[in-house]
Symmetry: C2
Subunit: 206 residues, 2 copies
DNA sequence: CGACGCTTTGACAAACTTCAATCCCCGTGG
DNA sequence: CCACGGGGATTGAAGTTTGTCAAAGCGTCG
């Protein structure tokens, strides 16, 4: 069920290579032909695009163990970049989408597609809320993915979070401060967030 | 490639029934077990969920010829309702997801899943923009789906549009008025929109 | 120590929502 | 045929939220 479990089977059906990317390095670019899958071995990855006027949108974050790079179309619809220094396993699998759309799909890839769909829907749900709710939802999302019992280590910058949530850095910062002042979270260091009252967070995004 | 073309093949692999739903009637409810596909014969359908505080979110609209009801999970993550009096073809296909996740998937269903993913991603993209841009993007999206040369007949109310765009009815109305005053669109009747300067609209969402 | 990058805070401007009133379209009944 | 009524759509004024711009704080690394 978790994205991590998918990875076990897929690499065996093709060849795969591990590569290192340092912070902000580009893994692939929007518009390039798709056809491989990527697994985060360590670090974190973001998928993003920049609009003509310079605004940047982040489609999703991928943490350790998660798989990215699966596309609905033949070309990448986002660029992928390392959020911090990262190791990425590149899965050159003959079972990857574009090559075999017409011949049936292994169940893992189908499940992965389902994950991506759910991710995008949840993202849209977040973006329809207020700033406070978006930030709360983001923290819960990260906590759930890390399987964390109340503490999250965020690999990404405030700017990354802002671009993911469709807000400005300042607003993200202010909302975190608000939640901190209400004792809903604690922020020992800027990238480490302690979820003090998960119920209050859940209430915000319900 | 268009959702419409998918429908030709799928019904043949199972049984199907056409049903009529009048305006606002529920076709299925969030949380119910999924496992069928639905095709809009006439009218229009919206998928939505309501939050605890009463706010409503619309996931997507489905117009004539489009297929909905495909889910990433075993239960419907949205409710589906008729936007206006509609006819819907219910496709009870043995090839539908939940039943055969593990045995491979026909290419049409894969393509459909890809469409849903793209839809959700585009929706998220819209929701990250300003009100003016969201409304412009919405109009372009509808025009593209109808294959219209510059004129759109919107089946849904302003409230529906607002809930889709994460705005209030008033803001949607004001943005339409703005676009009208700038001669970017014309609004002969409240549900009929003429796209006068498509370039200006495209510039807004670029 | 000092410089640089990221984060936070403050003050103000712009965008969006809220609440209330009015308008408009359309169907219904007199 | 026209008056009436009702739901949706628009508009206005005021309030709240979020963005913008500028400055200050904090941490890290040379």
């Amino acid at each position: 069920l978790s994205a991590g479990s998918l990875a076990l089977a897929i690499p065996n059906s093709g060849t795969s290579v591990a590569l290192g990317f340092c912070r902000n390095a580009e893994i692939y670019r929007e518009g390039e032909p798709a056809g491989q899958l990527y697994k985060v071995i360590s670090g974190a990855v973001r998928t993003c695009r920049v609009l003509i006027d310079g605004r940047r949108q982040i489609g999703s974050f991928y943490l350790q163990g998660e798989i990215f790079g699966l596309e609905a179309e033949k070309e990448h619809s986002f660029s992928a970049e390392a959020v911090v220094d990262s190791e990425v396993l590149i899965i050159k699998s003959p079972t990857v989408p574009c090559e075999r759309w017409r011949t049936g799909m292994p169940s893992q890839v189908w499940a992965l597609m389902g994950h991506e769909l759910k991710r995008a829907q949840d993202h849209a749900r977040l973006l329809a809320m207020t700033a406070r709710e978006r930030v709360a939802g983001f923290l819960l999302e990260m906590a759930e993915r890390i399987q964390s019992s109340g503490e999250v280590e965020l690999p990404m910058s405030r700017q990354d979070i802002a671009d993911y949530l469709g807000l400005t850095v300042e607003t993200v910062s202010r909302m975190l401060t608000q939640l901190k002042n209400r004792a809903v979270i604690a922020v020992p260091t800027s990238k480490r967030i302690v979820l003090r009252k998960r119920a209050a967070l859940n209430r915000l995004v319900a």
